[in-house]
């Protein structure tokens, strides 16, 4: 359900860019999806297949998902570590003064148009 709302936002933005570039059809959309973005790629693809068929200029449009690994930075010992395996607490020094460096992306990378 969450993914459906995101798909509607993607389609809206892609359509705008395609129209600005005088394109008649969008054949592919490439997305950067962070590991901890809360977007489930499988659901996104499912919603995608349903939603693009309702858009004239996006019928059959392919969705490619690139996964971005999540990294957290620790301010206490100035290191970066994988977020999914370790969470909020730094595995090196045990500090909680940490912040997400990357992995939260829900980003349209590029599109292919005709």
């Amino acid at each position: 359900m969450h993914e459906l709302g995101i798909v509607f936002h993607i389609i809206k933005q892609v359509r705008q860019v395609a129209e600005q570039n005088g394109a008649t059809h969008v054949s592919k959309v490439v997305m950067n999806i962070g590991e901890v973005s809360t977007v489930v790629p499988y659901y996104l693809e499912d919603c995608w297949k349903w939603a693009v068929e309702k858009e004239d200029m996006m019928k059959g449009c392919e969705l490619e998902i690139l996964t971005i690994d999540a990294l957290t930075h620790c301010d206490s010992c100035n290191c970066s570590y994988p977020t999914v395996a370790n969470g909020k607490i730094c595995p090196r020094c045990g500090s909680d003064r940490t912040w997400l460096e990357r992995g939260n992306e829900v980003e349209i990378k590029e599109i292919e148009v005709i």
């Binding site: 359900m1 969450h2 459906l4 709302g5 995101i6 936002h9 993607i10 809206k12 933005q13 892609v14 860019v17 395609a18 570039n21 394109a23 008649t24 054949s27 809360t38 909020k88 909680d96 992306e105 829900v106 980003e107 349209i108 990378k109 590029e110 599109i111 292919e112 148009v113 005709i114």
Partner: protein, 224 residues
Amino acid sequence: MDPVKVIEIKKSVFDDNNADAQKLRNELKHKGVYLLNLMSSPGSGKTTTLVRTINLIKDAIRVAVMEADIDSDVDAIRIKEATGVESIQLHTGGMCHLDAEMTRQGLGNLSLSETDLVILENVGNLVCPAEFDTGSCCNVMILSVPEGDDKPLKYPLMFSVCDLVLINKTDVMPYFDFDLEKCKANIHLRNPRATVIPVCAKTGEGIDVFAQWIIDQVAAWKER
């Protein structure tokens, strides 16, 4: 056939909604209307808390309510009957959250010139509403005791976007393994700035603190 052209976009999907939300906040600021976005799980006591709170503040400030649900209008009717304030129901058409555009459409159905505070009761859900900025001036969430003190760890985004967390149903705390101090620590681990107020919508405990918090926020919004 025409050659395929690649256009680089490199833009977050949420950018448009975030910009739209900021625009809506500016419009509300101009009108002197404060929008409070209330989020929680289903069954945490949002509507009961609202009824109690509105009855405490409605003589001091003019309140209106927007109830967002996937279907039905039971909440909007209940608010109207129990408080007498203007209350409308928004249907999300199957979607699990509201975005800025849906919120703007809802606000269009209220008499904003006669309102100081609009409370948006978002769809009951701890995941999706946190992703979409509604254009609200603050985010409040309710965590009820039966849900457990570990929820801030399981739904970090929701807790990190909230200005205020109400811990509701404190009357049943003895029957659940709920550690209030541990819960506060879990919330502050995600969001050191969040204010936490324990309340019980059934007995009214703590509702006066929440009511005063709202009145102060609305006054500051109108002054700034």
